[in-house]
């Protein structure tokens, strides 16, 4: 058919465009980072060696390749600082994601049960914080959480505490910041699954003798698992690498891997170790990323 030929070229381009994008903006930079992670620090510009010089000829390139080593990765495993940073990142991400699920699920459920008209309003309310810069919102939290901030004033006024509580530079402040910032990413996928769930299913469970809490655990929750999975991964993955929130709200005695990476790169000027730390982080997140990918694909297939 002639129409097929006309469309063949743009269609083929459309098919490879995402791969081109990935190659250009992910694979190539990843290659740079990987190479730097295998190099050694040097007091030079750039601050590592060897440096590949494609103009110096084949022999020079071969010596440069031979100079690469996995010493930086050995360091990451042997030095407690990095191991603790990775562990803390995982613990913070797991805890924060659990909190997000506990808080986000009831909100999403309530939204999905609102009359249609109000669902749109609720949706806007969830999204509206994005209209303000993320950094400004975190600074606002610093203001709220400080010694004579809004939170302490309220607590004192309600006589819940007798003197101001120290919030800033604590893990509590960090968790408040993380939960606040990531809540929409938990609510939206949950809401999407709950809103399209057939109401008759819950009615049928009630009709068959299940009291409301059983209706929830036996029908609503199992059927919302795709949304739970999407929300959990959508929050967990970026929280592991989170830098700004712990840096601004948490104390400085224990660092997450994002902060450690920043320190190595900017303060210690140790690009190779920072790169190695980044590579390990990426590998750690590969499993949840693949999980998320599979979940999305399955949902697409079910939607057909």
């Amino acid at each position: 058919m002639s129409s097929r030929r006309i469309f063949a070229r743009p269609a083929r381009f459309a098919a490879i465009a995402p791969y081109l994008w990935m190659a250009l903006f992910f694979l190539v930079p990843f290659g740079f980072v990987l190479k730097i992670s295998l190099s050694q620090t040097a007091i030079a510009q750039p601050p590592y060696e060897p440096v590949f010089d494609l103009t110096a000829g084949w022999e020079a390139l071969k010596t440069a390749l031979a100079a690469l080593s996995i010493d930086n990765f050995r360091l990451l495993i042997s030095d407690d600082i990095y191991v603790f940073a990775y562990a803390r990142s995982l613990i913070v991400a797991v805890t924060a994601t659990a909190l997000l699920l506990l808080i986000g699920y009831p909100i999403a459920y309530g939204m999905a049960r609102l009359p249609k008209r109000w669902q749109a309003v609720a949706m806007v309310l969830v999204i509206v914080p994005f209209w303000t810069s993320f950094l400004i919102r975190i600074y606002a939290w610093i203001n709220i959480l400080q010694h004579d901030g809004l939170l302490n004033q309220i607590l004192l006024a309600l006589h819940l505490v007798s003197q101001p509580v120290v919030w800033l530079s604590t893990d509590s402040a960090m968790y408040i910041g993380i939960v606040y910032s990531y809540l929409p990413f938990m609510i939206l996928p949950l809401y999407a699954t709950l809103a399209k769930m057939e109401r008759a299913l819950e009615e049928a469970a009630g009709d068959l003798g299940a009291p409301p809490w059983q209706v929830f655990w036996l029908v609503t929750f199992p059927l919302s698992l795709p949304g739970v999975g999407a929300g959990v991964l959508l929050c967990f993955i970026p929280i592991v690498g989170e830098f700004v929130i712990p840096d601004l709200l948490a104390g400085s005695n224990s660092l997450m891997i994002g902060q450690t990476l920043w320190l190595e790169f900017f303060t210690n000027k140790d690009w190779p170790v920072a790169s190695a730390a980044a590579i390990v982080l990426l590998v750690m997140l590969l499993l949840p990323l693949l999980l998320y990918e599979r979940l999305q694909k399955r949902q697409l297939e079910q939607g057909r």
């Binding site: 009615e203 049928a204 299940a210 059927l223």
Partner: protein
């Protein structure tokens, strides 16, 4: 069409478990039940008694309130006014899981994450039955609805007809005192629908259970139900057996809603024994049998079902000993609609109106058929006329 109740109360009590309905009382009594959605009155003062073992149909056009009424029986909506008594106990405000009533949903509402057998077992587990008893009951239900071999399948691996069976088995498994069916056959194709109708009736008779079915399909209601409640605009317009509903509709609206009908508006002229003479605008003067409930108005309508209208070339055929006062209308065949078993003729009357006659094609060769523009006489007896107030 069956008017009789095919089973005894003893059978009903055996099937309905511990809570026997009090003798002489209906199983279900709906008393002045109303439901508003905002300013819209979905159900408006409905009162209805349903006996144990009945197959009752709620029939009406969409939006008439029949589904809302059913949902109030299931407990998904609470009535704003009135009482719902099941075996003498008011359940109007009880939650769905507290009622010995089960429902089969129009969409079937099968749990997509559970296999057929787990769907069927869902209600049994909630009732706290022993594991072995559950297995036995599930097996019994699977056999009852002929689902053998499909127990392990998930709903999305079943055909529409099979899903319908799982839904039915799931609703029957708890042996409810009352089974509600919301448009249970609407999603099936015609052939399957007809065979399933027969199976449902057979099942209801065998189990001696009380069924209330909601449908907008009058043929379905007529075929299956022992009594039909016709609803219109939130009110019960008539509760009757299928035959009564068809042959003695109580209003113009019901006459038109249930089956096809010829309607002639006119004015009461005189009474001659048990006959009323009514002058119509479009079909001349008609003689009709006096209705059971005497009519007081002068503006009346005469309703005649198309199959009661006979056609002939020369004039009414008088049978020995039959009524001689016969309505006979002259006209011309305007339209012919061949339907296989019957043919519907539209006759343009000389008086201006149009009358439909449905004639059974009793012979294979159409020696007796009429053709368009042929002059005919359409006739019917006064007993075949139903007089309705306009």
């Amino acid at each position: 069409m069956t008017d009789e109740l095919p089973r005894t109360d003893a059978a009903a009590n055996a099937a309905s478990g511990d809570q026997h309905p009090v003798a002489g009382q209906p199983l279900l009594r709906i008393e002045g039940v109303s439901k508003n959605f905002g300013t819209f009155r979905a159900v408006d003062g409905v009162s209805l008694d349903i006996r144990a073992g009945e197959f009752f149909a709620l029939l009406g056009p969409s939006g008439c309130g029949k589904t809302t009424l059913l949902r109030m029986l299931a407990g998904f909506e609470a009535p704003d006014e009135g009482r719902i008594l099941l075996g003498g106990k008011d359940i109007a405000q009880a939650l769905p899981h507290e009622r010995p009533i089960n429902m089969m949903f129009q969409s079937y509402a099968l749990f997509p994450h559970l296999s057929s057998q787990d769907n069927i077992a869902f209600g049994l587990k909630r009732a706290g039955m022993a594991r072995a008893d559950i297995a036995a009951r599930v097996a019994e239900m699977v056999a009852l609805v002929k689902l053998g071999g499909l127990e392990k399948r998930k709903p999305d691996q079943l055909s529409g007809g099979q899903r319908q069976r799982v839904a039915l088995a799931r609703a029957l498994a708890r042996r409810p005192q009352l089974l509600l069916l919301d448009e249970p056959l609407a999603a099936l194709d015609k052939k399957l629908r007809e065979s399933t109708q027969a199976e449902l009736m057979e099942l209801q008779r065998r189990l001696g259970m009380t069924f209330i079915i909601v449908t907008h399909d009058q043929e379905e209601a007529m075929t299956m139900a022992s009594r039909i409640g016709v609803m219109n605009a939130g009110k019960l317009a008539q509760v009757a057996t299928p035959r009564e509903l068809y042959e003695a509709p109580r209003s113009r609206w019901i006459a038109e809603f249930v089956g096809d009908v010829n309607l002639f508006d006119g004015e009461f002229r005189l009474r001659d024994g048990h006959r009323l003479v009514i002058a119509t605008r479009e079909a001349g003067t008609l003689v009709a049998a006096e209705p059971r409930e005497p009519v007081s108005e002068t503006k009346l309508s005469v309703a005649i079902r198309p199959e009661k209208v006979k056609l002939s070339r020369r004039g009414p055929v008088f049978e020995a000993g039959r009524e001689t006062a016969i309505n006979s209308l002259d006209g011309v065949i305007a339209d012919i609609c061949y339907l296989g078993g019957t043919t519907t003729y539209k006759v343009k009357l000389d008086d201006g109106g149009m009358v439909q006659a449905s004639v059974v094609n009793s012979a294979r060769l159409d020696v007796d058929a009429y053709s368009v523009n042929q002059r005919v006489i359409a006739w019917f007896t006064p007993d075949d006329c139903v007089v309705l107030s306009s």
